[in-house]
Symmetry: C2
Subunit: 191 residues, 2 copies
């Protein structure tokens, strides 16, 4: 039961956590396409209406469960870090790719869902894509301020190159590995 695992937290927060945990477990067991909102509700021990009150679609629930509120996948690199921005970028990508190796299937399913639903595409871009794109753009701009990356470089385009490269690999069924993180970083910084 939800109450036992989450005593002390407000019931709606507890239910939300249980729902996200159930969604995450089901998506790993069954995959996105075969996972239903009804099954999530049953596994979480909450009323189905509770889910519909909070999420308008399976895609938005998965976006929350897998990527938004768990704190996993791409935390912002520390601006205080003394290491070279190339090292920060490589470490950031290694971190992203290790999550993608675990949760790449749900991310691919969300990108597919975004192609079929314009409303979700907008939500997905605003809540998931743009914040991550901006983390990398800011890192590259910091590298330019430090003189570690040429001032004439186009940080926004490079951020699209970087995200585009691993989306492209992921969507084509290719592995996203630490070696890929290193190759991307070297090509961006090596001049």
């Amino acid at each position: 039961m939800v109450e036992k695992r989450t005593s002390g937290r407000p019931p709606d927060v507890a239910a939300g956590q249980a729902v996200k945990a159930a969604a995450l477990q089901l998506i790993r067991e069954k995959g996105y396409a075969k996972m239903s909102i009804a099954a999530i509700a049953t596994k979480a021990g909450v009323a189905r209406q509770t889910l519909y009150n909070k999420w308008t679609s399976k895609a938005e629930l998965v976006l929350d469960a897998v990527f938004e509120e768990t704190g996993r996948y791409a935390s912002e690199p520390s601006a205080e870090a003394g290491e070279h921005c190339a090292e920060q970028l490589e470490a950031f990508l290694v971190d992203v790719f290790s999550h993608l190796t675990l949760d790449g299937d749900p991310l691919r399913a969300l990108i597919a869902a975004a192609q079929e639903d314009e409303g979700f595409r907008t939500v997905f871009r605003e809540r998931f894509v743009l914040p991550r794109e901006k983390i990398v753009t800011a890192l590259l701009q910091r590298a330019q301020q430090r003189g570690e990356l040429g001032a004439e470089r186009d940080a926004e385009m490079l951020s699209a190159f970087i995200h585009g490269a691993f989306w492209y690999r992921l969507l084509n069924g290719q592995p996203v590995t630490p070696a890929l993180a290193k190759s991307i970083t070297e090509e961006v910084f090596a001049r």
Copy 2:
């Protein structure tokens, strides 16, 4: 009737052309998700079994109809062309993007379909993705041989940057414009 429009060609070629024309028209009118194989057969005036004999899925039929055999979307740049490889890359991308502006929705639908079906993902990668990736890799290697791009650059990674950047824009509902072709080319070549 197919026979009237295609007299002089063997019937199976004529039927194949009619099917692809019908699929292309239907995908533009209705979108990928709402287009059925039955509707394509009816519109093309061919027996449904004729379609199933040649294509194992809607996704493969659309791959043929929209991208493979029509000769549109990304013809290989001429190796004899005297112009700088940067100009060739920009012209190539402008050409690709103009087709994507017309047929971006079916391409997005195919990429989504590839996420949901591993067999189709393999076919899509081998027949569509890799040939186009190699065109750009070869162009960049030619640029390196000519001294227009540094020999230390990673042509394969740059090709993934380039394709990744416009896939990323397309899949996030952003326009792929001649200005994007210019920005990509400048970032790849400007050093």
